[in-house]
């Protein structure tokens, strides 16, 4: 429908609106049910964030958004890359290990490390693609298995080649890339490589809407048989899309590595779980660049602000996970309902405009 059609916009906003209402409602009910005060909870959550929280939210949004883009690349062609978690863990380790080796200096080191992250993520993800095309293995199952394997593998490599310091093991420390400090120094900085998220988002949009490859990708997602008849090579498409998704996944943690962490350490500097958050946000944002931006912002906001809960309320921060999960479920249900309304509406519109109400189709 035309972009300025108010009814279409209304319908488009209806889904998220229902989801937000549902998740707020469920969260409130759960809090009230265990005897805590939903008022305290919401006032803490809606309290305008402190400067350093604002910085954290931006940084977290960037990483979650990159993860969501990675997930969405697969989703848009009907591939469920559940393996983001393993892909970015392995890629982050590889990039951090390379950067720590300091084979190159300054910008070159950073750049090549990023390339390595992309390559490793893509390669790990492509395994699932190859298994699917050559052996018919569902990517859902294979990527779940690859997640577990990747995490164990990284632990092994880290133990074997990492720096043992105190009670931790990590990769060699690297020099940070200085970021942008919008507030006082102590409030932290917005990392330079947050730009990755911007590039990922814009790149995703351009790829999807402006390129032949993107068209093929979307066509494959809508109907495999139609895509094949239109000349898309389904096997190559699956492997390419998986690799692309994994490649972007490889970049997820890079802003943090070069902005703050200085090294990769399991349980310490490395932030696990972004892959699964990315999947959730991709679903929440319906795999659309802008939708996912809002989704990532919402998730980042919720998790950063949930830190304040322990100080101000007796509500446990883990409540936020319920809010996030309900939001995802509610949004997919709401969209399905809206889609059905819209399909009916469009058929009616066409029929009215053509005045062919008597034309029979059976």
């Amino acid at each position: 429908m035309k972009s300025f059609n108010p009814r279409a916009i209304g319908l488009a906003l209806l889904g998220p609106a229902i989801a937000i209402v549902a998740s707020v409602l469920v969260t409130t009910l759960v809090i009230a049910a265990v005897g805590s005060s939903p008022g305290d909870f919401w006032s803490t959550m809606f309290d305008f964030p402190k400067p350093r929280s604002r910085v954290d939210i931006v940084n977290q949004t960037a990483m979650i958004y990159t993860a969501a883009v990675a997930a969405a690349i697969g989703f848009r062609m009907g591939l469920f890359n559940i393996g983001l978690e393993g892909q970015y863990t392995l890629a982050s380790y590889a990039a951090a290990a390379f950067a720590g080796g300091a084979y190159l200096s300054g910008f070159a080191n950073v750049f090549v490390s990023l390339l390595i992250a992309v390559a490793v993520g893509a390669a790990w993800s492509a395994i699932a693609g190859i298994l699917k095309t050559t052996r018919g293995v569902s990517e859902v199952i294979s990527t779940i298995m690859l997640n577990s394997i990747a995490i164990t593998l990284v632990g092994y490599l880290l133990n074997k080649y990492g720096v043992h310091e105190g009670n931790t093991v990590h990769t060699t420390r690297i020099d940070l890339v200085s970021g942008w400090t919008p507030f006082e120094n102590r409030d932290g900085e917005i990392w330079t490589l947050v730009i990755i998220a911007v590039l990922a988002g814009v790149g995703f949009w351009v790829l999807l809407n402006k390129t032949r490859f993107g068209f093929d990708l979307r066509a494959s997602g809508q109907s495999e048989t139609v895509a094949k008849a239109s000349g898309v090579n389904p096997h190559r498409m699956i492997i390419t899309a998986m690799a692309l998704s994994g490649g972007v996944a490889g970049l997820i943690w890079m802003p943090a590595l070069f902005g703050k962490a200085t090294n990769f350490g399991l349980g310490t500097t490395f932030q696990a779980g972004l892959g699964f958050l990315g999947i959730a946000v991709a679903l929440l944002g319906r795999n659309r660049p802008i939708g996912m931006l809002f989704g990532a912002l919402l998730f980042a906001y919720l998790s950063v602000k949930s830190n304040d809960l322990t100080f101000a309320t007796d509500v446990s921060p883990s409540i936020v996970q319920i809010t996030q999960g309900v939001a995802v479920l509610a949004v997919v249900v709401a969209y399905e309902v809206v889609r059905r309304w819209r399909a009916r509406l469009e058929q009616r519109v066409v029929a009215q405009e053509l005045g062919t109400a008597t034309e029979a189709t059976a």
């Binding site: 402006k210 490859f213 139609v226 008849a229 000349g231 066409v350 053509l354 109400a357 189709t361």
Partner: protein
């Protein structure tokens, strides 16, 4: 049971879908102990009416009376309880389940799911000569066996009103004969059989009564003993029957497509195509006649690069394209009107202009290098919509919202764009209204005059004879005969298609 007792009486049935009226003012009377044929073009509303009678869909208006009693059929269960059974055009069987399991499903209370049921199946099978083995997986059954299983399913439930939706579409003639023998036995046993078809020969051969539907409603009845095929056909289309006029030959000497000994096997090593050789010249339309399921779809998919042949070669012009992929073939100038437009031709949820790009992603005006040329594609979509009379509110409308005919016109327009050298047209006018049908014929003929080579596959023999320069008949994956459309009759073709007499 007397000939005069009425088994089913439909009065004033109406059914509306969002934006479409599928049935209105349908009246139908079926006598017990007869075979009643319901005929009409694709899209005339036959299937919807049958679904209403079987309780799959609820009518918005009208009444249904069965054996003189008015009934409300909300679900298939209600229909079954009232003695109505249905054999769907697309069989409703679960491949992974056995014959027995498919048979007793939903009717477990009758004879259990064990040995009693097994015995009952054997009884029915023996009574009508169905030859069913209860413990075989359905996936191993051939088409005719599946159909007999479907009929047996209906009988198992004690139905006395049996609906068959286009039962002969997938059968070879011997199987059709066997089916008709079964139907006659059913009739003689006192059942009412409702037989849906658009094959007039068959209707005249089997039916006791005929009702004709057009544009969602019943338009008349006919007596098979006195009426002619021509009359029936005109009743169906509501006017003088259009027929593609043969034109003078435009066949040139340049060969555009050559298949030499092409062989294709399925994953079990059975041949789907055997030694298929043919050639099409520029300006020639080669028609392929055959009963559905004899390798036509595989032939098309092989030429289109969607399947890779196990043996033989395919040349486009002088180029060996045997192992080319679909994309490359399309870029080389092959247009493709697929048999099933929803499965192979359109992205239903995408707007028309994106569907214009489909299949031509790499070609002007849709693309510039690796980029999609949005404005070019949109402009060209406008052109197609205007030239091919695609009735749609705009090019941003999703394809799903269009009627079948308009969807098909869009596909034809798309595939004719960019001056193809070869057009593969599979059932180009199937499910299309009469006006659109004539328009599509005109477009194909015009392109032929301009030197296009066309491979035409159709179940409509008149269409084949009217359009083609040469007709070849395909039977069980082999080309079994070549005919000159100027002299051949549908009867000759029919005989060849069924292996009666290979010419």
């Amino acid at each position: 049971m007397t000939q005069e007792s009425v088994a089913v009486e439909l009065r004033g049935i109406g059914k509306r879908f969002p934006g479409v009226i599928a049935n209105h003012d349908v009246d139908l009377t079926i006598r017990a102990g007869t075979v009643h044929a319901l005929i009409g073009e694709n899209g005339a509303g036959k299937s919807t009416l049958m679904k209403i009678l079987y309780g799959v869909q609820k009518p918005d208006d009208g009444t249904i009376a069965i054996n003189g009693r008015e009934v409300a059929l909300r679900t298939p269960t209600d229909a079954i309880a009232n003695g109505v059974g249905m054999v769907f055009q697309h069989f409703m069987l679960a491949d992974n389940l056995t014959v027995l399991e498919n048979m007793v499903l939903g009717a477990e209370k009758l004879h259990g799911i064990g040995d009693r049921a097994r015995a009952e199946i054997r009884r029915i099978s023996d009574a009508f000569g169905f030859g069913l083995q209860p413990d075989v997986l359905v996936e191993k059954l051939g088409v005719a066996d599946r159909q007999r299983l479907e009929i047996a399913k209906v009988l198992y439930r004690g139905a006395c009103i049996i609906i068959l939706d286009e039962p002969t579409a997938v059968l070879v003639p011997q199987e059709v004969d066997a089916l008709f023998a079964n139907l006659r036995e059913l009739r003689n046993a006192g059942n009412a059989v409702l037989f849906i078809s658009h094959k007039l020969d068959e209707v005249l051969a089997i039916a006791d009564d005929i009702t004709v539907m057009r544009r969602g409603t019943t338009v008349g009845t006919a007596d098979p003993h006195t009426t002619t095929k021509r009359e029936l056909a005109e009743l169906m289309v509501g006017s003088e029957l259009p027929s593609p006029e043969t034109e003078e030959s435009t066949v040139t000497d340049t060969v555009e497509l050559t298949l030499a000994n092409v062989t294709l096997a399925d994953e079990f090593g059975r041949n789907l195509l055997t030694d298929v050789s043919l050639s099409i010249h520029r300006g020639e339309i080669l028609g392929i006649a055959g009963v559905e399921g004899n390798g036509q779809a595989e032939l098309v998919e092989t030429i289109m690069g969607m399947r890779i042949p196990g043996g033989g070669t395919i040349h486009l012009g002088t180029e060996d394209v045997t192992h080319w992929h679909t994309r490359k073939l399309r870029e080389a100038g092959i247009g493709y009107i697929p048999e099933d437009r929803h499965r192979h031709g359109l992205l239903l949820d995408a707007p028309l202009w994106e569907n214009r790009i489909l299949g031509h992603q790499t070609q002007a005006p849709n693309a510039k290098g690796p980029w999609i040329n949005r404005s070019g594609a949109r402009k060209d979509t406008q052109r197609i919509v205007a030239e091919y009379d695609v009735r749609a509110p705009g090019i941003d409308t999703p394809a799903r919202a269009l009627s079948g005919g308009n969807q098909q016109k869009l596909i034809v327009g798309r595939e004719m764009s960019g001056d193809p050298v070869l057009l593969i047209a599979s059932h180009p006018t199937r499910g299309v209204d009469v006006g659109a049908q004539a328009a599509i014929w005109d477009h194909i003929k015009r392109a032929r005059r301009a030197g296009l080579a066309v491979l035409l596959i159709s179940a409509d023999l008149d269409e084949l004879i009217g359009l083609s320069d040469t007709i070849q008949v395909i039977l069980r994956g082999r080309l079994v005969g070549t005919f000159d459309p100027a002299s051949v009759t549908p009867q000759d073709l029919g005989a060849a298609m069924t292996g009666g007499q290979a010419a």
